[in-house]
Symmetry: none
Subunit: 211 residues, 4 copies
DNA sequence: AATGAATGAGCTTTCATTCAT
DNA sequence: GATGAATGAAAGCTCATTCAT
């Protein structure tokens, strides 16, 4: 009896998740196509094949949905980069960071919609939230944990690891947005070597010189 | 007779300029207070003490006004930094750049409204436009001209001066936005030394090593 | 259970039909009173006791409503004339046509609002559409079908039955508009014998003289 | 001295006439292009290269201008037909009327803009006014005078010449509007023989059979 | 939980008209 | 007489949100 109820609840939960997911997908495609401002809740539910009222069972308003969507998309992006990086070994901390940056940048170059969406909406606050998110799959283990572990394993010490990460992320985000979308003032291929050089500079500069 | 006519024309023109200016001011203060998206043209004209229709005699729509406002505010900001820098001599190119950056950052720290507005709306495209703007006062002389002259006078040579400027500007813009407004992940005073260090790194890295 | 659901659906549908009807009525009375051009959607919904947004659930805009209204009113007008004609037998095709014309004209004379509205807005295109409309009551049977059947039954043959109808309808429409509303250049009673004479002339003239 | 003043007044009057004419022309071309309803006074004065206020020195509002324009255009149209008819002699009254009708119809077929404008706006009231207009050139001699003279000269007598004219004009106006603009339900070439036949029928029918 | 008709505040934009110059 | 900046009422239309079913 209990099992049966669980079964039913599970079914309902699954249905709810599907609805939520459908709203997410519909919203994302519309946000990309017409921009967030020009996408109405009407548009979203129409695209998701639901009644208007249903939207409010899942999200408070459009901006609530947007915020949750940004987090989801950013988590997805970094998880992917992490997976790619796990298949390799790196000579140094710098190289690992550059590899992950490159992976993220390439993904954004492939999916310009995604770039547009994330770059425009990603504040450090949101990014911070993403960093500390513990996903189901990683089992109580966040990106930031990984970052700290990486530093520890490198045997090196930095003045302010969070500031270091902040500068790197902001530099990547700001430069890539314009370069990928507008090819201005240089192409992505021209930017990359200089950008990665600056990233290495940042890391070295922030290193604590002991002794 | 001609002088009298000129006088009349001058009066009308002056009145028109004042109206335009009033709309600019009203819009800016409202954009700051409630955001661009949540500021309606009704709000703007009410604040500026005009009839709604008058708005359309001066701007095509809200976004036309916004674009013109960004340019005006950014030009103002840089002109001020330039003036400040002219009172001093600098040991090197790096130091002049850092001085100007510092001047701009301090101004934005003083006027957080301005920071919010510029930082959110300043794309490289718009900034580029500002760079090439030749203001009345400077007499056919743009910021970019000044930047190039500075490089020439330093006697040094850089791989891609525009890319160098782009990276510096984007890094400043992106990091200061969050640090000034949220004090996250560090305070402005903590950010400055590291940021200026990175700026110096970028300049050195982009230098053409001849010989 | 099924019946109950049907009942519910029926209720909703009925309510919607009532709303639509209320908009129709409100619009018609306002169109008559102040003209279509001077009737705003605000006026219509106020008269119909609804919120403005509701209008757009039923019609695309004012002209969409107008077009549907013309068709509805014209169909109504002709249906009535047809019903009246069914109670009688006629010595000839001409006399039947004249009878229907007279019925329509009398109705328009009674309801000058209706005349004003139909006469001003009825193009041959719209009228054609009305002619081919198959109403629910007549069960897949249009006015034009009736007209053709009438010709067939008369045993006579006409060069271009559609052109014949067109000329008759346009002549009636154009002359009655002015005569009924302005009594110029003659009264309706003075017009009728001459008009009906011309209609008979038109019919005879278009007859195919075989043999 | 007096002559000089007259000269000045003449000059001013001429200037005024030119302004009025310019407004007429501008309005007509815009009415044709975009419809009367969608043409604003702003549009008209812009097209006529004048200031907005100037409009009100010549016309009360848009509809005042429109009414005067219809009269002017209709007078022009009929004057032209009359001139053409004067170069010929006709075997009968009917044939003269048909000739004038044909001349008018051909002109409207050439200039569909004109047709659209006149046909939509010409009521019998306005037409009546045109009929009785005594133009400068004809020297106190109206179209209606010409029509009456024509009847007199034909030596025939009609029950109600005004009603006869009314029916003919309305029939032409109504049928040609649709046929020329839409080619529905027949082409103009197909309509003409039947239409002219009906016109002849109308004339014969209205003839007083004496004796 | 899901629906979708209804709401009405509020938006942008137009435009006839006025009036000081 | 001519101008055109200014007005502000009023139009069409959208849309987040509610709520009875």
């Amino acid at each position: 009896m209990q099992e049966k109820q669980e079964g039913i609840l599970g079914k309902l939960d699954k249905k709810k998740k599907q609805k939520r997911e459908a709203l997410f997908e519909a919203a994302f495609s519309l946000f990309m196509e017409k921009g967030i401002q020009d996408t109405s809740i009407s548009d979203i539910v129409k695209q998701a094949n639901m009644a208007k009222g249903t939207f409010y069972l899942y999200f408070r308003d459009k901006f609530d949905l947007r915020d949750k969507l940004i987090v989801a998309k950013t988590v997805e992006l970094f998880k992917r980069a992490e997976v790619e990086s796990m298949a390799q070994v790196f000579p140094s901390f710098e190289e690992k960071v550059v590899f992950i940056a490159d992976s993220v940048i390439n993904r954004l170059d492939e999916d310009k919609q995604l770039l547009k969406f994330i770059s425009k909406n990603l504040s450090w606050g949101v990014f911070h939230h993403v960093l500390l998110t513990e996903t189901e799959e990683t089992g109580g283990y966040s990106f930031y944990d990984g970052y700290c572990k990486l530093i520890r394993e490198s045997g090196r010490s930095f003045r302010n690891p969070e500031l270091m990460l902040f500068m790197i992320v902001e530099l990547i985000n700001a430069t890539c947005h314009n370069v990928i979308l507008m090819q201005e003032p240089v192409t992505l291929e021209e930017l990359k070597p200089e950008l990665y050089g600056v990233i290495r500079d940042i890391i070295r500069r922030m290193e604590e010189k002991s002794g």
